[in-house]
């Protein structure tokens, strides 16, 4: 790990100002991904701003009937919150499907959104990776790509976004709120928050340098049957091969977002018109532009089967 200076911020404004003063600074909250990457010298901040003392750890009702989740609310607390469990079940389920009890106690809402890919070529500093070292190439495209993205990919990168929580936020139409050093605030729809890799896969989100997430807001409850179904290589404590977040209404209409298939939570609103016609019809539009490798082509069929199971589950029948 490279040496770094360290300070504790006491307010969001103080944290944003500290970031503006220090090029090479990073915010740290849970640290569960950042520290891991710092040990490998994939992340090399010269200054860490500890934001654990800035507040932002509450979950409040909004005047619109939704919820405002502070950036520092821990994954455990968000999943256990009674409003989330009752009205946003897909979010509680997605959180509980991720990581381990210990990590959920540490990881924050904002940090979960900002975690980096777990692509093994990104993690292995002996391998080329355009995300870690822009212009060095992609080891995954002609390498071992079983876990990688099948849609929204580029010639530069086929990494996936690893978050389960973000997939649920996408299907719930969440909004990410931020603050910058000049006190300006932004509200970024979750659909626009994460980027596709394009020719700049080293940039994961639309955040500006030094911009800090203060909260994630949810609109009023969408109702329906809310399901998060995750398929992985072991029963617990593993990243998704494929996951489906769905909100399905009694009349068969609904929304669906996918995890484990793209550089961001994957949702195509136009495909949702096909929901009453079943999984095959939805997936045909949802993954219409898929570009698979021989290793990960199985994900096309897997998505359809998982969505089929989710739709059957919502109807209370065996698939």
């Amino acid at each position: 790990m490279k040496p770094f200076t360290y300070e504790r911020a006491h307010s969001p404004a103080e944290a944003a100002a500290a970031a503006a003063r220090n090029q090479g600074a990073k915010f740290v909250a849970g640290g569960t991904n950042l520290l891991d990457l710092m040990k490998l010298e994939i992340e090399k901040p010269t200054h860490l701003i500890d934001v654990n003392g800035v507040g932002l750890d509450k979950i409040d009702a909004t005047p619109e009937g939704g919820l405002r989740i502070g950036a520092l609310v821990r994954n455990t607390d968000l999943a256990a919150n009674e409003h989330v469990r009752r009205d946003y079940g897909v979010l509680a389920r997605a959180l509980l499907a991720g990581a381990s009890g210990q990590l959920r106690n540490m990881a924050t809402t904002a940090g979960n959104l900002l975690q980096r890919t777990r692509c093994p070529y990104f993690y292995d500093t002996n391998q080329p990776c355009n995300k870690r070292d822009p212009g060095s190439g992609c080891g995954a495209i002609n390498g071992y790509s079983r876990q990688h993205a099948i849609v929204g990919v580029s010639d530069a990168c086929i990494a996936t976004h690893p978050s389960d929580m973000a997939v649920a936020l996408r299907v719930l139409d969440a909004t990410v709120e931020t603050v910058q050093a000049d006190d300006s605030v932004r509200k970024i729809p979750i659909a626009e928050f994460h980027r596709l890799p394009g020719d700049q896969p080293h940039i994961d989100t639309v955040l500006m340098p030094g911009e800090m997430i203060t909260a994630v807001t949810l609109p009023k409850p969408a109702g329906g049957i809310q399901i998060y179904r995750k398929v992985r290589d072991r029963a617990s404590y593993a990243f998704a091969l494929v996951s489906v977040a769905a909100i399905i209404q009694r009349d068969g209409t609904g929304r669906v977002a996918l995890g484990g298939v793209a550089h961001k939570p994957w949702r195509v609103e136009a495909a949702e018109a096909e929901m009453p016609r079943g999984a095959k019809a939805v997936v045909a539009r949802l993954l219409a532009d898929a570009q698979t490798t021989p290793d990960n082509a199985f994900k096309l069929m897997l998505v359809e089967r998982v969505l089929n199971a989710v739709l059957a589950d919502a109807k209370g029948v065996q698939p």
Partner: protein, 216 residues
Amino acid sequence: MQDPEELEVTRRDVLIVGAAGVAATMASQLSRGQAPSEGPAAAPQPVLSRVSFNVNGKPCELNLDTRTTLLDALREHLQLTGTKKGCDQGQCGACTVIAGGRRIVSCLSLAVMHQDDRITTIEGLGTPENLHPMQAAFVKHDAFQCGYCTPGQICSAVAMLSEIKAGVPSHVTADLIPRQQLTTDELRERMSGNLCRCGAYSNIAEAITEVAESKI
């Protein structure tokens, strides 16, 4: 002939000698390289920072390299070597301690981030003469082979039972609304962050179940 007692070394001594050997090798390689002043841009210097927290009921004040993890602070600076370093990347759970009442992996947390925190390690749960009920249950059920993951398993299990008591649901909880029961499926899911390469899982599950049932 040497007195066999003179040869007695602890496992920790062997590990320390091993690490020193590596350090010596690195030092000799460095001495063959350029003098620091002739090297490329001067390497950033380590930064020290003060932090005070409470470990097992005792206040501690440390002046640490900011890079020091909570795990290394406990083991190398406070000599509390009960907490183990397994993977050092948050995947195995051997370094689990309880901070502010919650189980965390101490390898993915910087010591300086724990100002004023209350940390409980395996040494703080019980003593050899007065075991914590979870420690006693692990002994009774033979819930380990090599024992390396055990301190993390026990800290994790103690805090896990508190999570159930607080109403935190899990991935296998069928209905998110009512209070959860500690079924075997719940226990296994909730303990999935603690790996045991010896595979003592069935006995670990029995030990935890016994403690959970005695509390109800």
